[in-house]
């Protein structure tokens, strides 16, 4: 087995399915991951999709089975469309899923207002609550795996189902900075709690960057950093909720969703209020000066 070379298929190429005879046209590359490449495609009948290509038939078949298991109208994951093989040397084994809109959370986070951040985190946890009902955990919770569509009321979707694991089993795919076991706060076993700790770690590390030497630190040092980082969270409501989740006292997603919803929004200096005040102020002064002018003109004063 050799180190993979990520050869990209040029746009406009048609990929022909061996088993179904369907054809997909490559529109561009959406991303390159640890175990494959994702392309934007259009099916021969115009249906848009995202094609995941892996080196081995096994990995494609395995990810497909995960998508099949978590699919449903309320699922946050892309709906599976088709699994197939082709004769194209760089797309021998692939599957096609729904193409999901939005931008990765790490790209939009800084530009989100507090109300939007609250909404996004609530949507993520609500999506997890639904997933957990099906008996699976997401496990690879990270900002790059969560797409936010600001044009669609901050709708949140999950991508990369490769880490999805039955509850109670060992986690196979994770990202250290949002992995509770890496930080020494929980086991690396798929559970609702593991996912919630992942969300808390993700939210925290989006705002406070972990130190560059975190990988050579002991677990005690990592935990100490976490405790300090939490104190840097400005809003008391968020701070105490993050503490609760990382201490392991929130164990199910619906409880966390309700807790997020009940956090009060900070009183922000509101731009719209300002301009409204200015408008009423200028209107009032204009009226007053007009009245005075008329009064002078009519020699009333």
């Amino acid at each position: 087995m050799t180190d993979k070379s990520q050869v990209q298929i040029p746009s406009g190429t048609w990929i022909v399915g061996k088993w179904t005879g369907r054809r997909w046209r490559i529109r561009g590359c959406l991303g390159v991951g640890a175990n494959g490449v994702v392309y934007a495609v259009d099916r021969d009948d115009g249906l848009p999709g995202a094609m995941k290509v892996c080196e081995g038939a096994g990995q494609v078949a395995f990810e497909w089975s995960l998508l099949e298991r978590v699919k449903g109208a309320r699922s946050s994951f892309p709906a599976p469309q088709q699994i197939d093989d082709s004769d194209h040397p760089h797309a021998q084994y692939f599957y096609v899923m729904e193409r999901v809109g939005g931008k990765p959370l790490d790209k939009v986070w800084l530009g989100l207002r507090p109300a939007d951040r609250k909404r996004v985190l609530h949507e993520i946890v609500a999506g997890l609550a639904h997933l957990h009902e099906t008996g699976y955990a997401f496990c690879d919770v990270k900002a790059q795996n969560i797409l936010v569509d600001s044009s669609d009321d901050m709708r949140v979707r999950f991508v990369d189902a490769g880490g999805v694991t039955p509850l109670g089993k060992a986690v196979r795919q994770f990202t250290p900075t949002s992995d509770g076991a890496f930080w020494g706060v929980c086991e690396r076993r798929a559970s609702a709690q593991y996912d919630l700790i992942g969300v808390a770690l993700m939210a925290l590390t989006l705002d406070v960057k972990p130190p560059a030497n975190v990988f050579s630190q002991s677990q005690e040092q990592r935990r100490a950093w976490l405790n300090k980082a939490i104190l840097q969270v400005a809003e008391p409501g968020w701070r105490s909720l993050l503490q609760k989740v990382l201490r392991g006292s929130v164990t199910d997603a619906p409880t966390l969703a309700r807790a997020i919803q009940s956090i009060p929004l900070p009183k922000e200096p509101d731009g719209t209020d300002w301009s409204a005040k200015l408008m009423w102020g200028s209107l009032a002064s204009a009226t007053l000066s007009t009245a005075c002018a008329w009064a002078l003109y009519l020699r009333l004063i």
Partner: protein, 240 residues
């Protein structure tokens, strides 16, 4: 396939070319011949020497039936976990392929993709439940000095991943070179988890890079272990 089945692996973590003792590629081939998979993580370096090191790492993995990845120190932990998991899956897939071949005259690739994904669900379940014997061989040559804390945490972290599997785990750690004239040194004998305290005290960087002797030693640890277990429990079924 019963619970007595075991997957055996060696994971070599190195930052350079071997320069002492027998050829590591031959050693990996010997180990693979005994039913052991050899994976290699190479740590990124500079210059021509690094390039030679990458090529050797890849050749060791090819001869050992395993995978090779060249990574930054920070990525050792996630890579070790991913490789162990993927190569276990590969080994099981080979077994399933052999069974399919003997029963139906087909490999997994010959099946329609939808049926393939059912086979993979079985493979995933087996992977979670099968016993794993793993020897981690750590390059402790002089150039590794700065990377020791990262490597130590990565090994501890790998054990955190493997301990929560349903299947049993036996993990041993060795370093190369060892103390004094020794080319290798056993840091931790087979145990169900990594003892961080023993890693803390035993990992000291010094001397050259006897990768070949380290792989031979790792393989002998696994084979001796097998013999002891066989004498105690009767024969086991192994996957190669």
């Amino acid at each position: 396939m019963g619970k007595e089945a075991t997957i055996r692996q060696i994971l070599v973590i190195t930052d350079g070319c071997s320069n002492i003792g027998p050829d590591p590629v031959d050693a990996a081939r010997r180990a693979h011949g005994r039913g052991i998979v050899v994976n290699v993580i190479g740590i990124v370096g500079d210059g021509e020497a690094a390039q030679k090191g990458y090529e050797e790492a890849q050749s060791i993995a090819d001869a050992g039936g395993g995978m090779c990845r060249i990574v930054q120190p920070a990525d050792i932990s996630a890579t070790a976990q991913m490789m162990t998991h993927q190569t276990m899956q590969m080994t099981l897939q080979q077994v399933v392929n052999q069974e399919l071949m003997s029963v139906m005259g087909k490999t997994t690739e010959d099946l329609p993709p939808a049926e393939r994904s059912r086979v993979m669900q079985v493979v995933a379940k087996l992977e979670e439940e099968i016993a794993l014997q793993l020897v981690v061989a750590l390059d402790m040559s002089a150039s590794m000095r700065d990377k020791i804390p990262t490597v130590r945490e990565a090994v501890r972290d790998l054990s955190l991943s493997l301990q929560v599997r349903t299947g049993s785990l036996e993990v041993a750690v060795l370093s190369f070179p060892g103390k004094g004239e020794e080319s290798t040194r056993l840091v931790q004998p087979f145990s169900n988890k990594v003892d961080v305290a023993s890693l803390e005290s035993a990992l000291v960087a010094r001397g050259g890079t006897p990768t070949g002797p380290a792989i031979d030693y790792a393989a002998s640890l696994i084979i001796d272990r097998q013999r002891t277990v066989d004498e105690a429990d009767g024969p086991r079924r192994d996957f190669a």
